[in-house]
């Protein structure tokens, strides 16, 4: 029996084309892919010697970038290194992100053979105009076709990414995309509102006044409509932007919100182990170079203070499936049934922002929409309650 359950994240930093909104690290020059794959294998082996001995891998997530750009041979090689280096649980959840424009039936079969059992398609929209605006390389039809192929290849756990609150979007076009997504009967839907990230082409357009973003109030309306539509379709919201059929919540995703431990491989990948967080450098070239010299490609490391650990526990859990009152009480050494913390919880319930059954505090859809503000409010009373307890 292994001591700890962990997740593995692999960042594949290549794209055929950079989407206008995306700030994840990737490059569009693909000729370095082979050298990158060798470096990635090196990093996995390297880290497994350090951390692998007592860990059981319960989820693997290949993200990017575009992991489906790797050839079948490359995908197989990396997978072999993974399974040789780490103890992978029999019921592992193993996800790969795929661009609907870059998958073939052959590739999908190969994924299944390798052991990949969950696939996530970056569909984003079923509207031709919106896809152009986002600079996606696939068409609405390709997206539907990709999901059908995945089914044929035997995937019984499929996610579809949908993006909403695009400039100029109406609630009708937004719901139309969601309807077409639901028609494909995926097990999981990630529905994100568009965020204007600095250093993306879209952000610059915004700065130049070329696009007009939706107001926060309209966005809130989109959010609530999305949530209630998906609920009608049988998708339960278990995190701000994630919806799933019962039992199909993404294990790897929940690992993040539950402060689980994970190792990230590839440029810009993040890791969390023993209350230490670190991230890799954002450069394929440097990454390859450092690993060739058998050095860790780490850009930043931080050891979390007790204060940081407990605030993480609160803000991550509130974003997802909620937090046990007992956990709050032990973290902050305070009462949640009387006093200011109880008052805040009661206030949220009164306003319909949260549900609390006396054991667990969970946000409702309108609460998720205000998640950051509510988190600050709760952390504020928790921190004061702790200080007062310390004084007494």
């Amino acid at each position: 029996m292994k001591q700890r359950s962990i997740g593995l994240y692999l960042h594949i930093p290549f794209c055929q084309h950079k989407c206008s909104y995306c700030d994840f690290y990737s490059i569009v020059t693909l000729d370095g892919m082979e050298r990158f794959v060798q470096a990635l294998c090196e990093e996995i082996r390297f880290r497994s010697q350090q951390f692998g001995s007592d860990a059981e891998v319960r989820s693997i997530f290949w993200g990017g970038g575009t992991p489906s750009l790797l050839s079948i041979a490359q995908t197989e090689q990396v997978s072999r290194v993974l399974t040789d280096s780490f103890y992978v649980a029999a019921d592992v959840e193993w996800t790969i992100e795929a661009n609907p424009g870059t998958v073939t039936l052959e590739k999908l079969y190969a994924y299944r053979m390798i052991g990949i059992n969950r696939i996530s398609f970056g569909v984003q929209s079923f509207d031709e105009g919106e896809l152009n605006f986002l600079e996606r390389i696939h068409s609405p039809h390709q997206a539907e076709h990709a999901v059908e192929m995945a089914r044929r290849a035997g995937f019984d756990n499929i996610n579809v990414d949908i993006m909403y609150a695009l400039p100029g979007q109406s609630i009708t076009t937004c719901l139309a995309s969601l309807k077409r997504a639901c028609a494909l009967e995926p097990e999981h839907i990630s529905a994100y509102s568009l965020v204007y990230e600095p250093a993306t082409p879209l952000y610059h357009k915004l700065q130049r006044g070329e696009i007009v973003p939706l107001t926060d109030d309209v966005e809130a309306e989109f959010f609530l409509q999305t949530t209630s539509f998906l609920a009608e379709q049988g998708y339960q919201q278990y995190e701000v932007s994630n919806f799933a059929r019962p039992g199909k919540e993404c294990r790897h995703n929940l690992l993040y919100w539950h402060r689980g431990e994970y190792l990230g491989f590839g440029p810009s990948a993040h890791s969390h182990w023993d209350n230490t967080r670190w991230s890799n450098i954002r450069s394929v070239a440097r990454y390859v170079e450092l690993l060739a010299r058998r050095q860790f490609p780490v850009a930043m490391t931080e050891h979390l203070t007790v204060e940081q650990q407990r605030s993480e526990a609160v803000f991550l859990a509130l974003r997802a499936d909620g937090i046990e009152l007992a956990t709050l009480e032990s973290l902050y050494n305070c009462s949640t049934t009387t006093g200011p913390v109880a008052a805040v919880i009661a206030d949220w319930q009164r306003q319909g922002l949260a549900t609390c059954d006396g054991r667990r505090l969970c946000l409702n859809p309108s609460g998720y929409s205000l998640c950051d503000a509510l988190t600050l409010e709760l952390l504020n009373v928790l921190e004061h309650a702790t200080t007062e307890a310390a004084v007494l």
């Binding site: 926060d216 701000v240 993040y256 969390h272 991550l316």
Partner: protein, 607 residues
């Protein structure tokens, strides 16, 4: 030795000029010419303005003096004491005291700009003090000067009634006319009169705090001789001290052991605070005092008041320490603790004027590292109660209930505005909007006019100067003096957030303007206060009567949707940043108010 030179060889003078007309550059040039500094030492221009704030603003706040030796064309060596003067209307009393220490003044006018209001008012002070005026037209080397010189020359002649050939044409920058200026100082300004054997009479025109020696008192000795170990009496404060050190001022203090009639210099006497050495006070010997103090002494009274609070209530004691240290070197600032329901513990501070207030705020932040919240400045009101008693109100929150008030009196000023004629219209309109009354207009030339207005000081406190500058494209200049208190139809305007009054946002306004102000203030606050989880209602009220209302709809969305789960660090940092932002806000009931909201009233005019 310099201090024993016969009075015939001493000349005491100052420079009167408008900001940017080249006073500091000219002073530097005189120092260089007389060998007080070498060109190599003049790495930073404008040696006399040693406070970084002064250099940034191009104004002089603290006074400086420097003694030079100059061998004139007559072959004799003279001692020239140049006494610097502050260049802003807030400090006109200080100007009058430094003028009183001189026998002459250089009137410096920019060849391309002409005479400005500040120059005229200081010139009148100098003429009143009986000073010999030496007119200088500066910056004659500028290309644009050529067409202007004759015009400016005429302005100067009209102003002081001199002969055209008495005006020295100079360029401090290019070193033109420096010799002529020094000769004119020696030949035209009379030497000081006085008796070094008579009882001591010395005028304090400035003082500054030195952490090692205590206050360094700058004086002009009119009669008698001041020596080390003398017991001296400060006539206005009645305090006595034993003198430690006496000297004259070169670039640094230069110890001479004594200072006799006619000369300018400094002494120290282990004095702990500058407020014990009041500008304008007379220093005499305790054992053998003079009969009459030097005329013109006045207690400096603050005219503008504002609350200064620590941004974080825990820093109250730090702020107290900072104010104490700042006051060591600023005799004019007054402060006393006060409590605000909105802002917690802080201080009500009194300033000479708006510039002085800004300087204090900036010094607190820069020199003393304080993060402060300041409230809207106000003037001091005199309230006459219905029962006949009187109350001075320096904080709008202390204004009594309307039913108890018989009358409120407010301070007025006489403002002098000099402007090119094309801006008369907009300036008149501005002054009338500010409840001003035109007292007179006087054409200095065909294209320049001198307007004088009587205005309530409270109306000038609100961005009047910036407005004046903007409507006249920077050409109008302003000077003012305090006149007297007059009754006004004034009311206290309160602001309520979700029903809770915010004492720090209360203002006193004219009744006719109250509705407009209330409406604009509410809409301004609506923009400055962030959305909350609940609706925030902003109301303006006079007494219990609500005169304006606005509301901020509750927040509906505040979450970062797309979030790569693995990067928790970034998420936590964003949250910590939001938390820091909240910390800088002030809590009124449940409403969090950003600090800039407390100054919202000041920029209402922009809307």
């Amino acid at each position: 030795m310099a201090s024993r030179a016969s009075m015939d060889h001493i000349r005491n003078f100052c420079i009167i000029a408008h900001i940017d007309h080249g006073k500091s550059t000219l002073a530097d040039r005189l120092l260089e010419r007389t060998g007080r500094v070498t060109a190599r030492e003049m790495v930073t221009d404008q040696i006399l303005d040693d406070n970084p704030l002064e250099q940034e603003r191009g104004i002089t706040i603290k006074l400086h003096a420097v003694q030079m030796e100059y061998t004139a064309r007559d072959g004799k060596t003279y001692i020239l004491n140049l006494i610097d003067t502050p260049g802003h209307v807030d400090f006109s009393y200080e100007v009058s005291r430094s003028l009183a220490a001189c026998e002459g003044a250089l009137l410096v006018v920019d060849a391309t700009q002409g005479v400005e209001a500040q120059t005229i008012s200081n010139l009148y002070l100098a003429v009143d003090a009986g000073l010999e005026i030496i007119p200088v037209i500066n910056k004659i080397d500028l290309p644009s000067a050529e067409t202007m010189i004759e015009n400016v020359r005429q302005q100067v002649i009209d102003l002081i009634g001199c002969r055209p050939d008495e005006i020295i044409l100079a360029s401090a920058k290019a070193g033109i006319g420096i010799e002529e200026i020094l000769e004119a100082v020696v030949q035209n300004i009379s030497p000081p009169k006085g008796n070094s054997e008579a009882p001591l009479r010395a005028l304090i025109y400035d003082s500054l705090y030195d952490p090692y020696r205590g206050v360094i008192v700058n004086v002009r000795v009119f009669d008698g001789t001041l020596r080390e170990k003398d017991k001296v009496l400060f006539m206005a404060t009645g305090q006595t001290y034993e003198v430690d050190e006496v000297g004259v001022l070169y670039m640094e203090q230069h110890r001479t052991g004594e200072l006799s009639a006619g000369n300018v210099g400094y002494f120290t006497a282990s004095i702990r605070r500058v407020r014990d050495t009041k500008v304008g006070d007379t220093v005499t010997h305790a054992q053998r005092p003079c009969e009459q103090p030097i005329a013109g002494f006045r207690e400096v009274k603050p005219m503008v008041f504002s609350g200064i609070y620590p941004a974080d209530s825990d820093d109250f004691e730090d702020l107290r320490d900072a104010l104490e240290k700042l006051a060591l070197n600023d005799a004019a600032i007054q402060y006393e603790p006060e409590t605000s329901a909105a802002l917690g513990f802080g201080f009500r501070c009194g300033f000479l004027g708006l510039l002085h207030m800004e300087i204090v705020q900036e010094r607190l932040e820069r020199e003393f590292n304080q993060t402060i919240v300041t409230t809207v400045p106000n003037v001091r009101y005199l309230v006459q109660h219905t029962d006949g008693t009187e109350l001075w109100v320096e904080n709008p929150a202390q204004m009594p209930e309307p039913v108890k008030i018989a009358e409120i009196l407010e301070p007025y000023i006489r403002a002098q505005i000099i402007t090119p004629t094309e801006y008369i219209g907009p300036i008149m309109q501005l002054c009338i909007e500010r409840r001003g009354v035109l007292l007179g207009q006087h054409y200095l030339t065909q294209t320049r006019v001198d307007l004088s207005f009587e205005l309530p000081l409270a109306e000038v406190v609100f961005d009047f100067y910036d407005k004046l500058k903007s409507i006249s494209r920077g050409y109008a200049s302003l000077d003012y003096e305090y006149s007297d208190y007059k009754p006004g139809d004034l009311v206290k305007l309160d602001i309520l957030l979700n029903g809770d009054p915010v004492d720090a946002l209360s203002t006193i306004v004219h009744r006719q303007k109250a509705y407009e102000w209330g409406r604009r203030l509410c809409s301004k606050l609506k923009k400055l206060i962030p959305r909350h989880l609940f609706e925030v209602v902003i109301q303006a009220a006079i007494g219990s009567k609500i005169i304006a209302r606005d509301s901020i709809a509750p927040l509906r969305k505040n979450v970062l949707a797309k979030c790569y789960g693995g990067d928790v660090t970034r998420k936590r940092k964003l949250l910590e940043k939001q938390k820091e932002g909240k910390k800088r806000m002030k809590q009124i009931g449940r409403v969090e108010v950003p600090q800039e909201a407390f100054l919202a009233v000041l920029s209402l005019g922009d809307e």
